[in-house]
Subunit: 142 residues, 2 copies
Amino acid sequence: MSQSTDGEAGFSLDPRLAADCLFVTDLMLSRVLLMNDSRYPWLILVPRRPNISEIHHLSKDDQALLLSEISQTSKYLEKEYAPKKINIGALGNIVAQLHVHIVARHEGDAAWPGPVWGHSEALPYDGENATEMVKKIKAEIS
Amino acid sequence: MSQSTDGEAGFSLDPRLAADCLFVTDLMLSRVLLMNDSRYPWLILVPRRPNISEIHHLSKDDQALLLSEISQTSKYLEKEYAPKKINIGALGNIVAQLHVHIVARHEGDAAWPGPVWGHSEALPYDGENATEMVKKIKAEIS
């Protein structure tokens, strides 16, 4: 993945996130990534702030921005994929850099009704599908 | 658990949450519950609004309140338990009523580094410990 650093702000994307995801776009606060697992529509927001691992460590203004971007992303997934539930998670036990998962869940998907995190190995997109999907998300979410 | 309904606002706590948790207190927006699993300091915020299953379905004002209560709860857990990570999750695949998990995680805890959700059966508090803990959380978080 390109764009793994954002020098002017001291932000640098964790290499594990960079390896597991496709770059979509940058919103006001967050870098938007598409998890490279074709089994779930799964976006990740990474606030472009250095050395932050918890939501409550962000400034109040950044917390409000993050919330607004979570809502915006959730609405997009709801409209596009009509999920049974949106799952939102900020875990970070393995990758400490603050990142928020937003996943469209459907009854009968691979991990249903359990959480997607730690469930099983990802099934990557094939290249063409990923490019199309990234282009569409970028156009709709920005 | 008592206080499972809040008649004036049309809010009624999902019976599964009521069965699995201990009532702590009501903040401005959310009912605070302690998950009855002594293996993790694990609080749950349930916005006292009827028929809401997703964060982005709350009004903007309620979203801001929820964020503030998530931060407040996270800060309490951080101060009290010095966790390695706070895990925040809004899943709802089983209990659709909007509820936000805030869990203090430590290296080597039962589910580490995986998610606590769906991991294994809870290990309930003994009654006296739970009463003490609920009293303390209520005093510090309100």
